[in-house]
């Protein structure tokens, strides 16, 4: 019987890969920024399942909240559509 945290880990691996591919094929850059936040959150939960909870907390704050924030500021200062 597979433990529950490993099942969650497999789900988060799929989410990270699929979110990163989806973020790169968007034409609207704001959607791309939101999907990069989803990928950072999936990697944060994956750190948690790999028994490194301190790294998971830091990644959840910086990679899933602060980094999409400054990306969104950049999209707001420049243009939103990809030419």
């Amino acid at each position: 019987m597979i433990p529950g945290y490993m099942l969650m880990g497999y789900i988060f691996m799929f989410t990270a890969l699929f979110g990163s591919v989806l973020a790169l094929i968007q034409r609207d850059l704001m959607k791309s920024v939101i999907l990069i936040g989803l990928e950072g959150l999936a990697v944060a939960f994956l750190f948690q399942t790999l028994r490194a909870p301190d790294v998971g907390i830091t990644q959840a704050i910086l990679g899933a909240a602060l980094l999409p924030g400054i990306f969104a500021i950049t999209v707001y200062k420049t243009r939103r559509e990809e030419e």
Partner: protein
């Protein structure tokens, strides 16, 4: 080969996939913001490789004879009394180093995005082909 033993190799494969997708974005995407997104993907992949290498590694850094004798770690002698904990614990060195790496990478991305905004204000475009053409002329 069950799903349980495949967990660590699948984590390595996920990290490799993130690095490959990020390299594709850095090399072939035209938009400057998507190139920076590719760099974040590479950074996440490298951090994931380091953390996955430390998963369940306290048992793996000793020889099999020592494991049969009940020694769980050469470095951590006190763990002999807690073999179940030592069989599950992760190696603590990569998590201590990756913590620094994440913080540094976020500040580097802030600088990269600031330079991207300056480039947009100067050339009035985020496309790399337009910027490089104007640089050549």
């Amino acid at each position: 080969m069950s799903l349980e033993t495949l967990f660590q190799p699948m984590c390595f494969l996920t990290a490799a996939g993130l690095v490959v997708v990020g390299l594709y974005a850095v090399i072939f995407m035209d938009n400057l913001l998507k190139k920076i997104i590719g760099v974040t993907l590479i950074s996440d992949g490298v951090n994931l490789v380091l953390i996955t290498g430390g998963f369940n590694k306290i048992v793996a850094i000793i020889s099999p004879e020592q494991a049969e004798n009940g020694v769980t770690s050469v470095i951590y002698e006190g763990l002999k009394e807690y073999p179940e904990f030592a069989a599950q614990a992760a190696y603590p060195l990569p998590s201590a180093l990756v913590l620094t790496s994440i913080v540094i990478s976020v500040s580097i991305f802030a600088i990269m995005l600031a330079i991207a905004i300056k480039l947009y204000n100067h050339y009035n475009s985020m496309s790399c082909s337009v910027i490089f053409k104007e640089v050549d002329e």
